[in-house]
């Protein structure tokens, strides 16, 4: 018995040792504490005229472990202030290193939409207080599916291609109404290129897009009585949606300039064609990185389907016009944002930031000014 015990414990030890040797668990984390206050009654990014700490704050932990030489499991748990710091598994995926320059990931992962897609929550990784919301605040950041990463270089040119396929599902708010977005059969390709001080990027993504907005159903129902065809046109249901974008960056280390452009189109739907971009510049002097950013978000176009209405019986036209234009109006917006701020390196893993953001609404003629202070931490 004693002998058996001894044997067992030897086995246990051996197994434990093997396990520890194989499964190296890495825990990393990041935190953004962002305080903000607006100068007037206007709210911006969830901040108002009394100082708030939650809206753009978040805490996250990432755990990754090597399952074998070639397979890694990664999970990222994020607690967002605008969600009452409820902890959510935003990413959970396996990565298989097929070769030195090819890896395949499967699970819930970040779609490679933007220059800072993968690290847009890690404010420590960039100079802004928060990545420009005109471009980065989209309800389709994460995807359930697979991603293949391929990278390499020839001479001084480095490149990374990411092929993504899967399904996007997310809830968001459209003009105060709860909405859910589903993009089926999503396929996207992005390419990142680095050539000396230059960085270039391009992305194209497409999928069958459905907006489920309960509040709008009665309206679509009403319209279908006037014209079933027009109602289907207006509704975003299994319609081809397209996202594309590009960015250019020049980083001379002492200073940098970068711009990023993105567009969204869901042609056969009420959703207006969307164009967003920003241009940013800054310089690095010692521990300081002062910067300025100009952003533009434009979902303000001539209403679609007006020519379809002219084909309806005259008596239906006023009612149809009201619905067709009114529905599209829901998503219409246009604004300009300018921010001026600085990053300060407190420690190698802690950055302090502050900025002043001024947003002008080109439609409502409303201006809001926000001051933010942030502590960004990584470990």
């Amino acid at each position: 018995m004693n002998k058996l015990n001894k044997k067992l414990s030897v086995i246990t030890l051996a197994v434990l040792a093997t396990f520890q040797a194989q499964a190296e668990i890495r825990i990393n984390g990041f935190a953004n504490l962002t305080a903000g206050i607006t100068s007037s009654d206007e709210t911006l990014y969830g901040y108002d005229d009394s100082i708030g700490f939650a809206s753009q704050s978040l805490f996250a932990i990432q755990v990754s472990g090597d399952i074998s030489d070639k397979v890694t499991a990664t999970g990222q748990i994020v607690a967002r202030g605008d969600n009452d710091y409820a902890a959510d598994f935003e990413w959970a995926y396996f990565t298989y290193e097929a070769a030195d320059n090819i890896s395949m990931s499967a699970g819930r992962l970040r779609a490679p939409l933007f220059r800072y897609s993968a690290s847009s929550d890690v404010a420590y990784s960039y100079h802004w207080v928060v990545a420009p919301q005109s471009v980065y605040d989209v309800p389709f950041n994460n995807i359930d599916g697979i991603r293949v990463d391929y990278s390499g270089y020839t001479g001084d040119l480095e490149y990374t291609f990411q092929l993504t396929a899967g399904r996007i599902e997310s809830d968001f708010i459209l003009s105060g109404a709860t909405a859910s977005l589903t993009v089926d059969n999503t396929v996207g390709l992005s390419g990142d290129f680095v050539y000396n001080n230059w960085k270039f990027r391009g992305v194209y993504l497409t999928g069958k897009t459905t907006f489920d907005i309960p509040d709008l159903e009665p309206t679509f129902g009403l319209l279908s009585q006037l014209s079933a065809d027009l109602s289907e046109q207006l509704r975003a249901k299994d319609d081809t949606g397209v996202f594309y974008g590009g960015s250019i960056e020049y980083d001379a280390f002492d200073w940098f300039v970068a711009g990023e452009y993105t567009a969204v189109e869901v042609e056969n739907s009420f959703y207006p064609d969307e164009v967003n971009y920003y241009v940013t510049a800054g310089f690095r002097t010692g521990k300081w990185t002062p910067f300025v950013t100009y952003e533009k978000s434009d979902l303000n176009n001539t209403p679609k389907f007006l020519s379809d209405i002219s084909g309806l019986p005259a008596a239906f036209q006023p009612g149809a016009t009201q619905i067709v234009v009114g529905t599209q109006q829901l998503a219409v917006s246009e604004n300009n944002t300018i921010s001026v701020g600085t990053r300060y390196e407190l420690e190698t893993n802690i950055a302090l930031k502050a900025d002043v953001v001024k947003q002008s609404d080109d439609i409502g003629e409303l201006d809001s000014t926000l001051i933010r202070f942030a502590v960004n931490y990584v470990f």
Partner: protein, 136 residues
Amino acid sequence: MLKKMLIAATLLFATSSVLAELVVVVNPANANTLDSKTVQRIFLGKDKKFADGNESIAVNQSADTQIRQDFDEAVLGRSSSQVSAYWSKLVFTGKGIPPKEVSSDAEVIDLVSKNPSVIGYIDRSSVTDAVKIVEM
């Protein structure tokens, strides 16, 4: 006279401390020719192998040391904060793990001498027979 000598000595000392020069070192068994671009790629996690196909493992010195800051600026061409921001991007996308950090030249020499895959950097004055200087 004594004063002059003192000044001269001080000057000499100052010069030699300015000349405190870092060198990249590998295991003597590592026969690869390495240029600064390749060293940069290895330390930024872009290359995981040497030209001969053997695995490359970079070893960093801790972030608060002068030699690390010198290395980041001279070889990687960016400040230590920028390098740290660079790694934060890779770590949180599962694309890379920053090099292991040690806190002295002696530890670098120890790791390099025991493993032909390891590449590190130390002060030229610390170099021993256990490691080979990479001429870049």
